[in-house]
């Protein structure tokens, strides 16, 4: 059979967000893959430069609809470091608790999507039903299901009440039981085994060379977790295991996530049991002195890096956000050739891509090796030309 090109995206039922793969296949076997990212550039980094430290937090919360807390925690953590402010322990515990609840609901969401990609919609419906329990807990604690609005520079904005803690404990008991069920289902359902085992294989060497992070790396036997390697917030105080698998396939990534859910639950229980008394925020100054901070954070999808430059004013001079999806993208292109067409959605979903969070624009002259910049009007004209087909996408 001749090589045919199958376009996947930017609009496609398997994709929740716009991205474009040009898949070249011979029959059912993939020969190569072209990735086309960045359909959703939103200019968040630029927008962050024009807001003060108080107002930039809600903006960063909206980078991602799932790891909203990851972005704010990572940012306020970095800014606090620049300012030399230490948030009180209770604030650190609450931040960590919300972070782990976020990891829980993110991994649950992933498990459902993973099931959906192989047409196992029962798993999708079940995990998303139970995910509601976590969302309800988050809503009780913070007032919101998605953008919790918990962080501010210097601490958190809301305290926990005893009533909320009791209810959370009750929900954790049900969830633990359900997680056991999912662990069993993920390891024993024949179609999950057939479709996940040996699919999208990434060796430890490849995982390291391509710079993968998070569950994708850990499933290939890379023992890295920022929570343990560069502890922040309340992580030095809690006991947990970094889950790794050796198989490097989608099945390994599933197991890593399912077992991480158990670990997260363990962390949440410890945090609630040891929650220190005291204030929930320290007074933070309005401005930050000139500093260059790299803030690292273990988001549900892997290491999230915020590079924060401050210049003595009340806003950032430059903020660079490297999301874990960007680090993991190349592993998809590396593990797909030779696979079956049917494996594309599974392998793509296995890194748990979060596309809109990843889109950035840099203009580089590849011959002169010089960065350039566009004015707004030039950029607009460029965009109109491109969509009218007068300019080739470069």
């Amino acid at each position: 059979m001749a090589e045919i090109m199958i376009p996947i995206g930017p609009q496609h039922p398997a994709l929740k967000e716009p991205v474009n793969f040009k898949v070249f296949a011979e029959g059912e076997i993939i020969t190569r893959l072209e990735l086309d990212l960045s359909y959703n550039h939103r200019g968040i980094e630029k927008a962050a430069e024009s807001r003060d430290f108080t107002r930039v937090v809600p903006l960063l919360e909206r980078i991602c609809g799932i790891c909203s807390h990851s972005h704010t925690t990572n940012f306020v953590k970095g800014v606090e470091e620049a300012m030399g402010v230490t948030p009180p322990p209770r604030a650190q515990y609450i931040r960590t608790l919300i972070a782990e609840l976020e990891r829980l609901h993110s991994h649950m969401l992933w498990l459902g999507v993973g099931g959906h990609e192989i047409g196992f919609n029962t798993l999708l419906m079940w995990t998303w039903r139970d995910r509601e329990d976590i969302q309800d807990t988050l809503e009780e604690m913070t007032g919101n299901r998605v953008n919790y609005g918990t962080n501010k520079v210097g601490g958190v904005r809301r305290d926990l009440t005893q009533d909320q803690i009791d209810r959370a404990h009750k929900r954790f008991d049900t969830l633990e039981e359900r997680f056991q069920g999912y662990a069993e289902m993920a390891t024993q359902n024949p179609t999950i085994r057939e479709r996940f085992q040996g699919v999208g294989k990434l060796t430890r060497e490849q995982a390291l060379a391509l710079g993968t992070v998070g569950p994708t790396a850990r499933a290939s036997g890379v023992d890295s977790d920022i929570r343990r390697d560069d502890p922040y917030c309340a992580y030095p105080d809690v006991k947990f295991q970094v889950v790794t698998e050796e198989s490097g396939d989608v099945f390994g990534r599933t197991l890593v996530r399912v077992r991480e859910m158990m670990e997260s639950l363990k962390i949440c229980r410890q945090l609630l049991a040891d929650l220190p008394e005291g204030p929930i925020a320290a007074k933070a100054p309005r401005t930050a002195p000139k500093a260059d901070v790299i803030s690292r954070y273990e988001a549900p999808r892997g290491e999230l890096v915020h590079t924060i430059l401050t210049d003595g004013s009340d806003h950032v001079a430059r903020l660079d956000i490297r999301t874990p999806t960007l680090a993991n993208w190349t592993s998809v292109a590396a593990s797909l050739p030779g696979a079956h067409l049917a494996d594309i959605p599974v392998v793509v979903a296995a890194i748990d891509p979060c596309l809109s969070c990843t889109s950035r624009v840099t203009v580089v002259d590849i011959h002169g090796r010089k960065p350039a910049s566009y004015s707004w009007d030039e950029l607009r004209a460029w965009g109109i030309d491109r969509h009218a087909g007068r300019r080739r996408r470069s």
């Binding site: 199958i6 099931g115 192989i118 419906m125 179609t191 057939e194 067409l341 049917a342 959605p345």
Partner: protein
């Protein structure tokens, strides 16, 4: 039977109208049971009918470069084939349209919708539909032979190619599900694959191929095609009920009153459908190569083994 009552048989009961209603009812049960398994509420009783009527009123779109006449005709041919197959089945007692050799004809007619999916896939002129159509036929080559063998095993045992005769034979000699469980299992798997249901919904594969060959079917074309596959679910389940579960016969009464007979057949078909529905909810989708290896390593040998056993027992004069 005079011409008028034959016409009534074909168009009203148990023919066109009755089968169409049954098809919608089975679709409702399918959706409802799967929804309950998944922890959802599921659709109301008349939802399949509402969907059907709504689709009839929707705009029909032919993709650029596609063969619009083929796309319009294909669903009707599929529908006609499935309904014709059902008319041959002895659901009220012997069918007035049945004849010696109606079993192979019914099997052939039930294969047509899959072949038509291939035609639709290629006529739609899209990468998704072509790949889906190619997959549908690839699957056909895998499950069809075991499926035929599994359904011919009862015929060999009963010594007749007529569905009515096989039902009769079972009243005298015991249900075939007891003597040929392997054939029943292969038939159920084949039926599930034929109807493109999980774990064999490989041709439709939403997350890979949008809807496979179905992608470019719109409006009444989609409505009729959907109805054909729902009717095929009914016809397939009835076929299994007739060949393995003794059709409309009651213990001690091989020819009950026709109303009782049809109720018994449908009840048995319904139980068969429930098995298919629960399987759909309990599994994800296999890949083509995985289904192929399952088909040739498990399904085909099982069917051949069953036929061999039947041949030996029949040849040996037992029972």
């Amino acid at each position: 039977m005079d011409a008028l009552s034959t016409l009534f048989y074909a168009l009203v009961f148990p023919g066109f109208l009755f089968l169409a209603s049954l098809a919608l009812l089975f679709q409702y049960v399918d959706r409802k049971v799967v929804a309950r398994v998944q922890g959802r509420i599921g659709p109301p009783l008349l939802q399949p009918l509402a969907d059907f009527v709504k689709l009839l009123g929707k705009e029909v779109i032919s993709p650029e470069g596609s063969d619009s006449r083929v796309l319009s005709a294909a669903p009707l041919v599929a529908l006609a084939a499935v309904f014709a197959a059902f008319l041959l089945m002895p659901v009220l007692g012997p069918s007035p349209l049945g004849f010696t050799g109606d079993l192979p004809v019914a099997l052939y007619l039930l294969t047509l919708p899959t072949v038509i999916m291939l035609v639709v896939g290629f006529a739609s002129k899209s990468a998704y539909t072509s790949l889906g159509g190619a997959r549908a036929v690839t699957l056909l080559f895998i499950y069809e032979v075991p499926f035929y063998l599994a359904l011919l095993a009862p015929a060999i045992a009963a010594g007749s190619w007529s569905m009515g005769a096989i039902v009769e034979w079972q009243s005298a000699n015991g249900l075939l599900v007891l003597s040929q469980p392997l054939a029943l299992a292969v038939a159920l798997v084949g039926l599930q694959a034929k109807l493109e249901r999980a774990p064999f919904d490989i041709a439709e594969a939403e997350t890979e191929l949008i809807a496979g060959p179905w992608t470019e079917l719109t409006g009444r074309r989609l409505a009729v095609m959907r109805l054909s596959f729902d009717a095929a679910l009914v016809a397939g389940c009835v076929l299994v009920a007739l060949l393995f579960l003794g059709g409309g016969a009651l213990p001690g009464d091989p020819h009950p009153y026709w109303l009782v007979a049809v109720a018994v057949v449908l009840l048995k078909a319904f139980l068969v459908a429930l098995v298919l529905i629960v399987v759909r909810a309990a599994f994800g989708r296999l890949r083509v190569d995985q289904f192929s290896s399952f088909g040739w390593r498990v399904l085909a040998p099982a069917a051949v083994l069953q036929v061999f056993v039947v041949l030996v027992t029949v040849g040996g004069g037992w029972p």
